[in-house]
Symmetry: D2
Subunit: 110 residues, 4 copies
């Protein structure tokens, strides 16, 4: 599967919901509640991620961990959108740190 | 910039460091310390993200928030790698939830 | 004011609610939901504490910080009770670390 | 053991260290680093508490959980001291919520 555009599409969705009525979607309701409500969700998802990871090492299915990390990434994307940023800013920062980019991907994989 | 391959490249790097000596890199040292050390870092980065976001609304530069969210995503990727998972699992889960995929990206943007 | 017995009384209350019907009180409902639900609340209260502290340095009233730390301590006490422990275990540990006890309190204050 | 004065004594210790050189004690170094460093420690201790609690239900000794909650309470007390507050403020708030006080302790235990 080609995952390359999923974050870009999700970013589009998050932008589109900025003008929506608070009761029209979960994301619109988070924007309406404001930054503290969004940060509270980010904090919650980390606790859930930590618990899910501890459960995995004790025999639980990995699906729960995937689910919780997806929740965490999703809510950080809502946070970024709320602050006029996006996952592109995060990917650029990661690329900068690790000296990688889309353009030299083949070379890096050698 | 084409960000589409950054997560894939970073995933490659995280896999390559699995066989490395603990003192050869930061990531190798985290693998060696084990799950609790990795989860502790994930928890730390969330607190830093929350503080950076609060600082932004009080006038601080957004760069710090980008930096902290990048740290958070990076350490969740180390967690995923440590557990035999990757960012692909997260992207697939996000795609499943939001009904998007790389293949119908153009349609979704209409 | 004599605060010395408040934690002891709260411990009594938390013990009494162990036998209660889940819908009879907030604490009884937390016991019924189990450890993960209690830990999730502990995690939430920390995020709220961090946000409240950042608000205080930006001019907000300190009452919110007191409220959130009280919430945090309260939910850790529910956690302790759920695991057959109590605030006495925490106070003993703190006394052990800092070389203090109720008995030599006067000496320590010299 | 009489635990009633431990928080009061610890509060005294935290106040005394306010005037100390940053390198004279751990607490003095935290005050010197400032609020964000203190909040980061509070956040860390919560992650450790969550992991320790999950370990207990998987057979680990409860001592680790006691240790981590003590760390969490201790660092919240440093936070309170840094902000001109103390555990008395927290105990008063808890007493207010639960309708208990040192003075009517006997009655409450009937």
């Amino acid at each position: 599967m080609n995952n390359s555009e999923i974050l870009a599409q999700l970013t589009d969705i998050l932008e589109q919901r900025k003008g929506a009525a608070p009761d029209s979607s979960y994301v619109a309701s988070l924007y309406d509640k404001g930054l503290d409500a969004i940060l509270k969700k980010v904090g919650e998802e980390v606790t859930e991620t930590v618990m899910a990871a501890k459960d995995v090492v004790n025999g639980a299915d990995k699906d729960k961990l995937v689910y919780e990390v997806a929740d965490l990434w999703f809510h950080t994307m809502v946070l970024l959108a709320d602050q006029g940023l996006s996952s592109d800013d995060i990917l650029n920062e990661l690329a900068r740190r690790f000296g990688v980019s889309g353009h030299d991907e083949k070379a890096a994989r050698k």
